[in-house]
Protein backbone atom coordinates (compact mmCIF):
# COMPACT_ATOMS: atom_id res chain seq x y z
CA UNK A 1 0.00 0.00 0.00
CA UNK A 2 1.22 3.47 -0.88
CA UNK A 3 1.23 5.96 1.97
CA UNK A 4 0.50 8.84 -0.39
CA UNK A 5 -1.28 8.30 -3.67
CA UNK A 6 -2.74 10.93 -5.93
CA UNK A 7 -4.40 10.26 -9.22
CA UNK A 8 -4.56 13.02 -11.84
CA UNK A 9 -4.91 15.59 -9.11
CA UNK A 10 -6.02 18.87 -10.62
CA UNK A 11 -6.94 22.23 -9.17
CA UNK A 12 -8.37 25.06 -11.20
CA UNK A 13 -9.32 28.55 -10.12
CA UNK A 14 -11.53 29.85 -12.87
CA UNK A 15 -9.50 29.46 -16.05
CA UNK A 16 -6.17 29.15 -14.26
CA UNK A 17 -4.95 25.61 -13.73
CA UNK A 18 -2.76 25.67 -10.64
CA UNK A 19 -2.17 21.93 -10.38
CA UNK A 20 -2.53 19.84 -13.50
CA UNK A 21 -3.06 16.08 -13.32
CA UNK A 22 -0.41 15.34 -10.74
CA UNK A 23 -0.07 11.64 -9.94
CA UNK A 24 2.19 10.76 -7.04
CA UNK A 25 2.94 7.50 -5.33
CA UNK A 26 5.03 7.52 -2.19
CA UNK A 27 5.78 4.23 -0.45
CA UNK A 28 6.42 3.85 3.27
CA UNK A 29 9.68 5.15 4.69
CA UNK A 30 10.63 7.16 1.61
CA UNK A 31 11.47 10.83 1.49
CA UNK A 32 9.86 12.44 -1.53
CA UNK A 33 11.22 15.84 -2.44
CA UNK A 34 8.79 18.09 -4.19
CA UNK A 35 10.71 20.67 -6.14
CA UNK A 36 9.42 23.72 -7.94
CA UNK A 37 9.69 27.46 -8.25
CA UNK A 38 7.50 29.65 -6.07
CA UNK A 39 3.96 29.37 -7.39
CA UNK A 40 4.64 26.09 -9.20
CA UNK A 41 1.82 24.31 -7.36
CA UNK A 42 3.69 22.60 -4.51
CA UNK A 43 1.71 24.14 -1.65
CA UNK A 44 -1.61 23.75 -3.46
CA UNK A 45 -0.86 20.05 -3.99
CA UNK A 46 0.05 19.67 -0.32
CA UNK A 47 -3.11 21.48 0.72
CA UNK A 48 -5.14 19.07 -1.39
CA UNK A 49 -3.34 16.14 0.26
CA UNK A 50 -4.38 17.55 3.62
CA UNK A 51 -7.97 18.15 2.54
CA UNK A 52 -7.66 21.90 3.01
CA UNK A 53 -8.76 22.57 -0.52
CA UNK A 54 -10.83 20.41 -2.78
CA UNK A 55 -9.46 18.99 -5.99
CA UNK A 56 -11.25 20.06 -9.14
CA UNK A 57 -10.45 16.66 -10.61
CA UNK A 58 -8.61 13.57 -9.50
CA UNK A 59 -8.27 11.96 -6.11
CA UNK A 60 -6.05 11.75 -3.06
CA UNK A 61 -5.57 8.79 -0.76
CA UNK A 62 -3.45 8.69 2.38
CA UNK A 63 -2.82 5.25 3.91
CA UNK A 64 -5.31 3.92 1.38
CA UNK A 65 -8.10 6.16 2.71
CA UNK A 66 -9.71 8.73 0.50
CA UNK A 67 -9.16 12.38 1.47
CA UNK A 68 -11.25 14.19 2.59
CA UNK A 69 -12.70 11.38 4.62
CA UNK A 70 -12.54 10.23 8.18
CA UNK A 71 -10.69 12.68 10.46
CA UNK A 72 -8.98 9.74 12.22
CA UNK A 73 -6.43 9.55 9.38
CA UNK A 74 -4.89 12.80 10.69
CA UNK A 75 -3.70 10.91 13.78
CA UNK A 76 -1.05 9.48 11.49
CA UNK A 77 -0.13 12.71 9.75
CA UNK A 78 2.05 15.60 10.88
CA UNK A 79 2.28 18.69 8.73
CA UNK A 80 3.64 22.14 8.37
CA UNK A 81 2.24 24.24 5.56
CA UNK A 82 3.82 27.47 4.43
CA UNK A 83 5.38 29.64 7.12
CA UNK A 84 4.90 28.47 10.68
CA UNK A 85 2.56 30.51 12.78
CA UNK A 86 1.63 30.05 16.40
CA UNK A 87 -0.64 31.59 18.98
CA UNK A 88 1.39 34.71 19.73
CA UNK A 89 0.38 35.16 23.39
CA UNK A 90 1.23 31.58 24.27
CA UNK A 91 4.64 30.12 25.06
CA UNK A 92 6.26 27.30 23.12
CA UNK A 93 5.09 24.70 25.63
CA UNK A 94 1.55 26.15 25.71
CA UNK A 95 1.35 26.13 21.92
CA UNK A 96 2.40 22.48 21.91
CA UNK A 97 -0.06 21.72 24.68
CA UNK A 98 -2.91 22.88 22.44
CA UNK A 99 -2.01 20.34 19.77
CA UNK A 100 -1.30 17.71 22.41
CA UNK A 101 -4.98 18.05 23.33
CA UNK A 102 -6.22 18.05 19.75
CA UNK A 103 -4.39 14.79 19.18
CA UNK A 104 -5.78 13.33 22.39
CA UNK A 105 -2.32 12.29 23.62
CA UNK A 106 -1.91 10.85 27.10
CA UNK A 107 1.76 11.22 27.88
CA UNK A 108 2.90 14.74 28.76
CA UNK A 109 6.49 13.62 28.28
CA UNK A 110 6.04 13.79 24.52
CA UNK A 111 6.03 17.58 24.78
CA UNK A 112 9.34 17.62 26.68
CA UNK A 113 10.83 15.08 24.30
CA UNK A 114 9.89 16.99 21.16
CA UNK A 115 11.10 20.26 22.71
CA UNK A 116 14.45 18.60 23.42
CA UNK A 117 14.57 17.02 19.98
CA UNK A 118 14.05 20.37 18.23
CA UNK A 119 16.44 22.10 20.67
CA UNK A 120 13.80 24.46 21.97
CA UNK A 121 14.55 23.86 25.68
CA UNK A 122 15.68 27.38 26.41
CA UNK A 123 12.63 28.82 24.67
CA UNK A 124 9.98 26.56 26.20
CA UNK A 125 8.45 29.38 28.25
CA UNK A 126 9.03 32.13 25.71
CA UNK A 127 5.94 33.57 24.03
CA UNK A 128 5.69 32.64 20.36
CA UNK A 129 5.55 36.32 19.41
CA UNK A 130 9.10 36.69 20.73
CA UNK A 131 10.59 33.76 18.79
CA UNK A 132 12.95 34.22 15.86
CA UNK A 133 11.83 32.92 12.47
CA UNK A 134 14.12 29.91 12.86
CA UNK A 135 12.76 29.00 16.29
CA UNK A 136 9.21 29.51 15.08
CA UNK A 137 10.04 27.03 12.33
CA UNK A 138 11.34 24.61 14.96
CA UNK A 139 8.09 25.05 16.88
CA UNK A 140 6.16 24.19 13.72
CA UNK A 141 8.25 21.07 13.26
CA UNK A 142 7.80 20.15 16.92
CA UNK A 143 4.04 20.45 16.48
CA UNK A 144 4.18 18.27 13.38
CA UNK A 145 6.31 15.62 15.09
CA UNK A 146 4.83 15.56 18.60
CA UNK A 147 2.39 12.71 17.98
CA UNK A 148 4.97 10.54 16.13
CA UNK A 149 3.17 10.61 12.77
CA UNK A 150 3.71 7.97 10.14
CA UNK A 151 3.54 10.60 7.40
CA UNK A 152 5.12 14.03 7.50
CA UNK A 153 4.11 16.70 5.01
CA UNK A 154 6.50 19.63 5.23
CA UNK A 155 6.30 22.69 3.05
CA UNK A 156 9.66 24.47 2.85
CA UNK A 157 10.65 23.30 6.34
CA UNK A 158 14.14 24.80 6.38
CA UNK A 159 13.03 28.34 5.57
CA UNK A 160 14.47 30.68 8.15
CA UNK A 161 16.82 28.10 9.67
CA UNK A 162 20.53 28.80 9.99
CA UNK A 163 22.99 26.38 8.30
CA UNK A 164 23.42 24.33 11.48
CA UNK A 165 19.64 24.10 11.82
CA UNK A 166 19.31 22.97 8.20
CA UNK A 167 21.81 20.16 8.74
CA UNK A 168 20.02 19.17 11.94
CA UNK A 169 16.63 18.97 10.23
CA UNK A 170 18.11 17.01 7.35
CA UNK A 171 19.56 14.52 9.83
CA UNK A 172 16.26 14.36 11.69
CA UNK A 173 14.32 13.59 8.51
CA UNK A 174 16.81 10.87 7.56
CA UNK A 175 16.47 9.38 11.03
CA UNK A 176 12.66 9.42 10.85
CA UNK A 177 12.72 7.88 7.40
CA UNK A 178 14.99 5.10 8.66
CA UNK A 179 12.40 4.41 11.37
CA UNK A 180 9.69 4.05 8.73
CA UNK A 181 8.19 7.54 8.62
CA UNK A 182 7.24 8.65 5.14
CA UNK A 183 8.16 12.24 4.35
CA UNK A 184 6.92 14.58 1.66
CA UNK A 185 9.03 17.69 1.65
CA UNK A 186 8.86 20.66 -0.66
CA UNK A 187 11.48 23.21 -1.55
CA UNK A 188 12.46 25.53 -4.34
CA UNK A 189 16.11 24.56 -3.79
CA UNK A 190 17.25 21.42 -5.63
CA UNK A 191 20.53 21.39 -3.72
CA UNK A 192 18.58 21.08 -0.50
CA UNK A 193 16.16 18.45 -1.77
CA UNK A 194 18.96 16.43 -3.36
CA UNK A 195 20.66 16.02 0.02
CA UNK A 196 17.68 14.48 1.74
CA UNK A 197 15.19 12.99 -0.74
CA UNK A 198 15.06 9.44 -2.08
CA UNK A 199 12.85 10.54 -4.94
CA UNK A 200 12.59 13.98 -6.47
CA UNK A 201 9.51 15.27 -8.26
CA UNK A 202 9.88 18.45 -10.26
CA UNK A 203 6.70 20.45 -10.65
CA UNK A 204 6.42 23.39 -12.98
CA UNK A 205 3.34 25.46 -13.73
CA UNK A 206 1.28 22.83 -11.96
CA UNK A 207 2.59 19.90 -14.01
CA UNK A 208 4.78 17.18 -12.56
CA UNK A 209 7.35 17.31 -15.33
CA UNK A 210 9.90 14.85 -14.00
CA UNK A 211 10.34 12.26 -11.30
CA UNK A 212 13.71 10.73 -10.62
CA UNK A 213 15.50 8.78 -7.94
CA UNK A 214 18.13 10.82 -6.12
CA UNK A 215 20.88 8.44 -7.32
CA UNK A 216 19.74 9.04 -10.91
CA UNK A 217 20.37 12.72 -10.51
CA UNK A 218 24.11 12.22 -10.89
CA UNK A 219 23.59 10.84 -14.40
CA UNK A 220 21.21 13.62 -15.36
CA UNK A 221 23.63 16.39 -14.51
CA UNK A 222 25.23 17.80 -17.64
CA UNK A 223 29.01 17.48 -17.80
CA UNK A 224 31.25 18.58 -20.66
CA UNK A 225 34.83 19.30 -21.55
CA UNK A 226 35.13 22.89 -22.78
CA UNK A 227 38.00 23.71 -25.06
CA UNK A 228 39.20 26.89 -26.71
CA UNK A 229 42.27 27.43 -28.84
CA UNK A 230 43.92 29.84 -31.28
CA UNK A 231 42.47 27.82 -34.17
CA UNK A 232 39.19 26.13 -33.33
CA UNK A 233 38.52 25.25 -36.99
CA UNK A 234 41.65 23.11 -37.07
CA UNK A 235 40.83 21.55 -33.70
CA UNK A 236 37.32 20.74 -34.91
CA UNK A 237 38.82 18.94 -37.95
CA UNK A 238 41.16 17.06 -35.68
CA UNK A 239 38.37 15.91 -33.40
CA UNK A 240 36.29 14.83 -36.37
CA UNK A 241 39.16 12.79 -37.83
CA UNK A 242 39.59 11.03 -34.47
CA UNK A 243 35.86 10.31 -34.19
CA UNK A 244 35.40 12.45 -31.11
CA UNK A 245 31.85 13.88 -30.93
CA UNK A 246 31.70 17.58 -30.14
CA UNK A 247 29.65 20.71 -30.59
CA UNK A 248 30.38 24.40 -30.77
CA UNK A 249 28.74 26.67 -28.24
CA UNK A 250 27.50 30.25 -28.56
CA UNK A 251 30.95 31.57 -27.62
CA UNK A 252 32.47 29.46 -30.47
CA UNK A 253 34.14 27.21 -27.93
CA UNK A 254 34.28 23.47 -28.48
CA UNK A 255 32.31 21.25 -26.11
CA UNK A 256 32.94 17.52 -25.82
CA UNK A 257 30.10 15.63 -24.18
CA UNK A 258 31.36 12.08 -24.64
CA UNK A 259 31.88 10.59 -21.18
CA UNK A 260 34.99 8.63 -22.14
CA UNK A 261 36.79 11.56 -23.73
CA UNK A 262 35.67 13.86 -20.97
CA UNK A 263 37.59 11.74 -18.55
CA UNK A 264 40.76 12.10 -20.63
CA UNK A 265 41.36 15.82 -21.13
CA UNK A 266 45.13 15.18 -21.15
CA UNK A 267 44.85 13.14 -24.38
CA UNK A 268 42.81 15.89 -26.04
CA UNK A 269 45.42 18.44 -24.97
CA UNK A 270 48.24 16.30 -26.36
CA UNK A 271 46.43 15.93 -29.71
CA UNK A 272 45.89 19.67 -30.06
CA UNK A 273 49.39 20.64 -29.00
CA UNK A 274 50.87 18.04 -31.38
CA UNK A 275 49.27 20.06 -34.20
CA UNK A 276 51.07 23.18 -32.88
CA UNK A 277 47.82 24.89 -31.92
CA UNK A 278 47.91 26.86 -28.70
CA UNK A 279 45.24 25.96 -26.15
CA UNK A 280 43.69 28.91 -24.34
CA UNK A 281 41.09 27.04 -22.32
CA UNK A 282 40.48 23.43 -21.29
CA UNK A 283 38.30 22.55 -18.35
CA UNK A 284 35.61 20.14 -17.26
CA UNK A 285 32.28 21.82 -16.65
CA UNK A 286 29.78 20.18 -14.32
CA UNK A 287 26.32 21.64 -14.24
CA UNK A 288 25.22 22.65 -10.77
CA UNK A 289 21.90 21.46 -9.41
CA UNK A 290 20.18 24.78 -9.83
CA UNK A 291 21.19 24.98 -13.49
CA UNK A 292 19.95 21.43 -13.97
CA UNK A 293 16.63 22.38 -12.39
CA UNK A 294 16.27 25.49 -14.55
CA UNK A 295 17.24 23.53 -17.68
CA UNK A 296 14.66 20.86 -16.81
CA UNK A 297 11.79 23.27 -16.36
CA UNK A 298 12.70 25.12 -19.54
CA UNK A 299 12.59 21.96 -21.65
Amino acid sequence: MMIVETNNLTKRYGRATVVDQVSLQIPQGKIYGFLGLNGAGKTTTMRMLLGMIKATEGSVALFGQKVPGNASVWDKVGYMIESTCAYPDLSVVENLNIFYRYHGLNDKEVIDKVIARLKLDQYRDVQASHLSLGNLQRLGLARALMHSPELLILDEPVNGLDPAGIVEIRRLLRELSAQGTTVLISSHLLSEIAKVADTIGIIHRGVLIKELEANQLHNEIERKLVLNSHDNVLVADLLQKNGIPFRTNAASEIEIMDRQWMSEPDRIAEMVVAEHVGLTKLFTFEEDLESYFLRTIQQ
Partner: protein
Amino acid sequence: MTTSLRAIAPEFLKLRHSTIVWVTFAAFALGPVMGGLSLYLLGHAGDMGSSPLSEKAKLMNFSADWPSYVGLLTQIVGVGGVVVFGFVASWLFGREYSDKTAKDLLALPASRSSIINAKFIVYAVWCIALVVANLLLGLVVGALMGLDNFDVSVITSTLTNYFITTVLVMLLGTPVSFMGIWGKGYLAPIGLVVLMLIVSQIVGAVGLGQYFPWSVPGLHSGISAEMKASLSAVSFGLVGLVAVLGYLASHWWWNQADQN
Protein backbone atom coordinates in the same frame (compact mmCIF):
# COMPACT_ATOMS: atom_id res chain seq x y z
CA MET B 1 -12.08 11.54 25.71
CA THR B 2 -14.05 11.35 22.47
CA THR B 3 -12.63 13.18 19.48
CA SER B 4 -15.56 15.63 19.47
CA LEU B 5 -14.74 16.75 23.03
CA ARG B 6 -11.00 17.02 22.39
CA ALA B 7 -11.39 20.43 20.82
CA ILE B 8 -12.90 22.14 23.88
CA ALA B 9 -9.86 22.35 26.18
CA PRO B 10 -7.56 23.82 23.50
CA GLU B 11 -10.06 26.60 22.84
CA PHE B 12 -9.93 27.62 26.49
CA LEU B 13 -6.14 27.30 26.52
CA LYS B 14 -5.94 29.74 23.63
CA LEU B 15 -7.46 32.43 25.89
CA ARG B 16 -4.53 32.28 28.32
CA HIS B 17 -2.58 35.52 28.53
CA SER B 18 -4.98 37.15 26.05
CA THR B 19 -5.43 40.77 27.01
CA ILE B 20 -8.54 40.85 24.86
CA VAL B 21 -10.44 38.86 27.51
CA TRP B 22 -9.83 41.55 30.12
CA VAL B 23 -10.52 44.30 27.62
CA THR B 24 -14.03 42.93 27.01
CA PHE B 25 -14.70 42.68 30.76
CA ALA B 26 -13.42 46.22 31.32
CA ALA B 27 -15.44 47.61 28.39
CA PHE B 28 -18.60 45.84 29.50
CA ALA B 29 -18.09 46.97 33.11
CA LEU B 30 -18.32 50.59 31.99
CA GLY B 31 -22.08 50.01 31.68
CA PRO B 32 -22.91 49.33 35.36
CA VAL B 33 -20.42 51.93 36.55
CA MET B 34 -21.75 54.70 34.30
CA GLY B 35 -25.34 53.57 34.86
CA GLY B 36 -24.77 53.61 38.62
CA LEU B 37 -23.23 57.03 38.38
CA SER B 38 -26.21 58.45 36.48
CA LEU B 39 -28.66 56.96 39.01
CA TYR B 40 -26.56 58.39 41.82
CA LEU B 41 -26.67 61.82 40.20
CA LEU B 42 -30.40 61.40 39.67
CA GLY B 43 -30.88 60.51 43.32
CA HIS B 44 -28.83 63.50 44.42
CA ALA B 45 -30.07 65.96 41.81
CA GLY B 46 -31.25 68.31 44.52
CA ASP B 47 -27.84 68.39 46.19
CA MET B 48 -25.66 68.53 43.08
CA GLY B 49 -27.73 70.32 40.44
CA SER B 50 -28.48 68.80 37.06
CA SER B 51 -25.98 67.02 34.84
CA PRO B 52 -26.27 65.52 31.34
CA LEU B 53 -26.24 62.00 32.82
CA SER B 54 -28.97 62.72 35.34
CA GLU B 55 -31.05 64.51 32.69
CA LYS B 56 -30.70 61.48 30.43
CA ALA B 57 -31.71 59.19 33.28
CA LYS B 58 -34.79 61.33 33.92
CA LEU B 59 -35.73 61.21 30.25
CA MET B 60 -35.49 57.42 30.36
CA ASN B 61 -37.92 57.42 33.24
CA PHE B 62 -35.41 56.00 35.71
CA SER B 63 -35.49 56.36 39.45
CA ALA B 64 -32.69 55.70 41.89
CA ASP B 65 -33.82 52.24 43.04
CA TRP B 66 -32.95 48.59 42.48
CA PRO B 67 -35.60 47.69 39.84
CA SER B 68 -34.53 50.69 37.73
CA TYR B 69 -30.88 49.83 38.11
CA VAL B 70 -31.26 46.15 37.16
CA GLY B 71 -33.47 47.31 34.28
CA LEU B 72 -30.65 49.58 33.18
CA LEU B 73 -28.18 46.67 33.39
CA THR B 74 -30.53 44.68 31.15
CA GLN B 75 -30.59 47.49 28.60
CA ILE B 76 -26.81 47.58 28.69
CA VAL B 77 -26.82 43.88 27.75
CA GLY B 78 -29.50 44.42 25.08
CA VAL B 79 -27.63 47.20 23.30
CA GLY B 80 -24.02 47.11 24.53
CA GLY B 81 -24.02 43.32 24.42
CA VAL B 82 -24.55 43.36 20.66
CA VAL B 83 -21.25 45.21 20.37
CA VAL B 84 -19.26 43.37 23.04
CA PHE B 85 -20.55 39.87 22.25
CA GLY B 86 -20.04 40.64 18.57
CA PHE B 87 -16.48 41.59 19.34
CA VAL B 88 -15.99 38.34 21.27
CA ALA B 89 -17.31 36.28 18.34
CA SER B 90 -15.19 38.28 15.88
CA TRP B 91 -12.07 37.59 17.88
CA LEU B 92 -12.75 33.91 18.58
CA PHE B 93 -13.43 33.05 14.96
CA GLY B 94 -11.37 35.68 13.16
CA ARG B 95 -8.16 35.34 15.17
CA GLU B 96 -7.26 32.00 13.62
CA TYR B 97 -6.94 33.79 10.30
CA SER B 98 -5.29 36.92 11.66
CA ASP B 99 -2.76 34.79 13.55
CA LYS B 100 -2.54 32.48 10.49
CA THR B 101 -3.21 29.44 12.66
CA ALA B 102 -6.41 28.36 10.86
CA LYS B 103 -4.46 26.08 8.51
CA ASP B 104 -3.15 24.16 11.52
CA LEU B 105 -6.68 23.25 12.60
CA LEU B 106 -7.85 21.72 9.34
CA ALA B 107 -6.19 18.31 9.34
CA LEU B 108 -6.47 17.12 12.92
CA PRO B 109 -8.05 14.04 14.48
CA ALA B 110 -10.42 16.42 16.25
CA SER B 111 -12.96 17.00 13.50
CA ARG B 112 -13.44 20.43 11.98
CA SER B 113 -17.03 20.55 13.23
CA SER B 114 -15.87 19.83 16.77
CA ILE B 115 -13.46 22.77 16.56
CA ILE B 116 -16.27 25.12 15.48
CA ASN B 117 -18.55 23.78 18.21
CA ALA B 118 -15.79 24.26 20.78
CA LYS B 119 -15.48 27.88 19.69
CA PHE B 120 -19.22 28.36 20.14
CA ILE B 121 -18.97 26.84 23.62
CA VAL B 122 -16.18 29.25 24.56
CA TYR B 123 -18.24 32.09 23.08
CA ALA B 124 -21.24 31.14 25.24
CA VAL B 125 -19.14 30.75 28.40
CA TRP B 126 -17.38 34.07 27.76
CA CYS B 127 -20.67 35.93 27.18
CA ILE B 128 -22.28 34.42 30.27
CA ALA B 129 -19.20 35.31 32.31
CA LEU B 130 -19.48 38.89 31.05
CA VAL B 131 -23.13 39.29 32.05
CA VAL B 132 -22.62 37.58 35.41
CA ALA B 133 -19.60 39.79 36.11
CA ASN B 134 -21.65 42.86 35.21
CA LEU B 135 -24.45 41.71 37.45
CA LEU B 136 -22.07 41.18 40.38
CA LEU B 137 -20.45 44.53 39.73
CA GLY B 138 -23.92 46.06 39.56
CA LEU B 139 -24.77 44.58 42.97
CA VAL B 140 -21.66 46.14 44.44
CA VAL B 141 -22.29 49.51 42.77
CA GLY B 142 -25.98 49.43 43.78
CA ALA B 143 -25.10 48.58 47.37
CA LEU B 144 -22.50 51.36 47.47
CA MET B 145 -25.11 53.81 46.22
CA GLY B 146 -27.61 52.59 48.79
CA LEU B 147 -30.41 52.05 46.24
CA ASP B 148 -33.96 51.67 47.56
CA ASN B 149 -36.73 49.10 46.97
CA PHE B 150 -34.79 45.83 47.11
CA ASP B 151 -37.81 43.59 46.53
CA VAL B 152 -36.83 40.00 45.80
CA SER B 153 -39.85 39.27 43.57
CA VAL B 154 -39.30 42.40 41.46
CA ILE B 155 -35.57 41.76 41.22
CA THR B 156 -36.17 38.11 40.23
CA SER B 157 -38.49 39.07 37.38
CA THR B 158 -36.04 41.77 36.25
CA LEU B 159 -33.22 39.22 36.36
CA THR B 160 -35.26 36.80 34.24
CA ASN B 161 -35.53 39.58 31.69
CA TYR B 162 -31.77 40.17 32.05
CA PHE B 163 -30.88 36.59 31.20
CA ILE B 164 -33.44 36.23 28.38
CA THR B 165 -31.98 39.38 26.84
CA THR B 166 -28.51 37.84 27.26
CA VAL B 167 -29.57 34.71 25.38
CA LEU B 168 -31.12 36.78 22.57
CA VAL B 169 -27.91 38.77 22.13
CA MET B 170 -25.77 35.62 22.31
CA LEU B 171 -27.81 34.03 19.53
CA LEU B 172 -26.86 36.90 17.25
CA GLY B 173 -23.21 35.88 17.54
CA THR B 174 -23.51 33.05 15.02
CA PRO B 175 -23.72 35.23 11.88
CA VAL B 176 -20.76 37.19 13.27
CA SER B 177 -18.80 33.95 13.62
CA PHE B 178 -19.64 33.05 10.04
CA MET B 179 -18.34 36.42 8.87
CA GLY B 180 -15.11 35.74 10.80
CA ILE B 181 -14.59 32.47 8.94
CA TRP B 182 -15.81 33.73 5.59
CA GLY B 183 -13.95 37.03 5.81
CA LYS B 184 -10.83 35.34 7.27
CA GLY B 185 -10.17 37.84 10.01
CA TYR B 186 -11.71 40.42 12.32
CA LEU B 187 -12.67 43.08 9.84
CA ALA B 188 -15.71 41.49 8.20
CA PRO B 189 -17.39 40.40 11.47
CA ILE B 190 -16.80 43.72 13.20
CA GLY B 191 -18.11 45.42 10.07
CA LEU B 192 -21.24 43.29 10.30
CA VAL B 193 -21.78 44.25 13.94
CA VAL B 194 -21.41 47.96 13.17
CA LEU B 195 -23.68 47.69 10.14
CA MET B 196 -26.36 45.83 12.09
CA LEU B 197 -26.25 48.44 14.85
CA ILE B 198 -26.75 51.24 12.34
CA VAL B 199 -29.55 49.38 10.57
CA SER B 200 -31.23 48.55 13.87
CA GLN B 201 -31.30 52.27 14.72
CA ILE B 202 -32.92 53.09 11.39
CA VAL B 203 -35.38 50.19 11.53
CA GLY B 204 -36.21 51.05 15.14
CA ALA B 205 -36.84 54.68 14.19
CA VAL B 206 -39.43 53.69 11.58
CA GLY B 207 -41.14 51.42 14.10
CA LEU B 208 -40.19 48.05 12.60
CA GLY B 209 -37.60 47.03 15.17
CA GLN B 210 -39.67 44.03 16.21
CA TYR B 211 -38.94 42.47 12.81
CA PHE B 212 -35.22 43.12 12.81
CA PRO B 213 -33.28 40.51 14.81
CA TRP B 214 -30.56 42.92 15.96
CA SER B 215 -33.21 45.27 17.41
CA VAL B 216 -35.10 42.56 19.27
CA PRO B 217 -32.75 42.19 22.30
CA GLY B 218 -32.72 45.95 22.81
CA LEU B 219 -36.51 46.09 22.65
CA HIS B 220 -36.80 43.09 24.94
CA SER B 221 -34.45 44.69 27.47
CA GLY B 222 -37.19 47.22 28.16
CA ILE B 223 -35.99 50.43 26.55
CA SER B 224 -39.69 51.25 26.47
CA ALA B 225 -42.64 49.22 27.68
CA GLU B 226 -44.62 50.02 24.52
CA MET B 227 -41.86 48.82 22.22
CA LYS B 228 -41.32 45.68 24.28
CA ALA B 229 -45.03 44.92 23.91
CA SER B 230 -44.61 45.05 20.12
CA LEU B 231 -42.41 41.92 20.23
CA SER B 232 -44.14 38.76 19.13
CA ALA B 233 -43.29 35.15 18.44
CA VAL B 234 -42.24 36.28 14.97
CA SER B 235 -39.64 38.62 16.51
CA PHE B 236 -38.10 35.82 18.58
CA GLY B 237 -38.47 33.39 15.68
CA LEU B 238 -36.45 35.73 13.47
CA VAL B 239 -33.65 35.88 16.06
CA GLY B 240 -33.69 32.08 16.23
CA LEU B 241 -33.68 31.80 12.44
CA VAL B 242 -30.68 34.12 12.11
CA ALA B 243 -28.87 32.16 14.85
CA VAL B 244 -29.51 28.80 13.17
CA LEU B 245 -28.51 30.11 9.74
CA GLY B 246 -25.33 31.63 11.17
CA TYR B 247 -24.46 28.41 12.96
CA LEU B 248 -25.06 26.23 9.91
CA ALA B 249 -23.23 28.62 7.59
CA SER B 250 -20.22 28.66 9.95
CA HIS B 251 -20.07 24.88 9.91
CA TRP B 252 -20.62 24.62 6.20
CA TRP B 253 -17.99 27.16 5.27
CA TRP B 254 -15.38 25.76 7.69
CA ASN B 255 -15.98 22.23 6.45
CA GLN B 256 -16.55 22.74 2.77
CA ALA B 257 -14.87 25.89 1.50
CA ASP B 258 -11.30 25.90 0.20
CA GLN B 259 -8.96 27.12 2.93
CA ASN B 260 -6.15 28.77 1.04
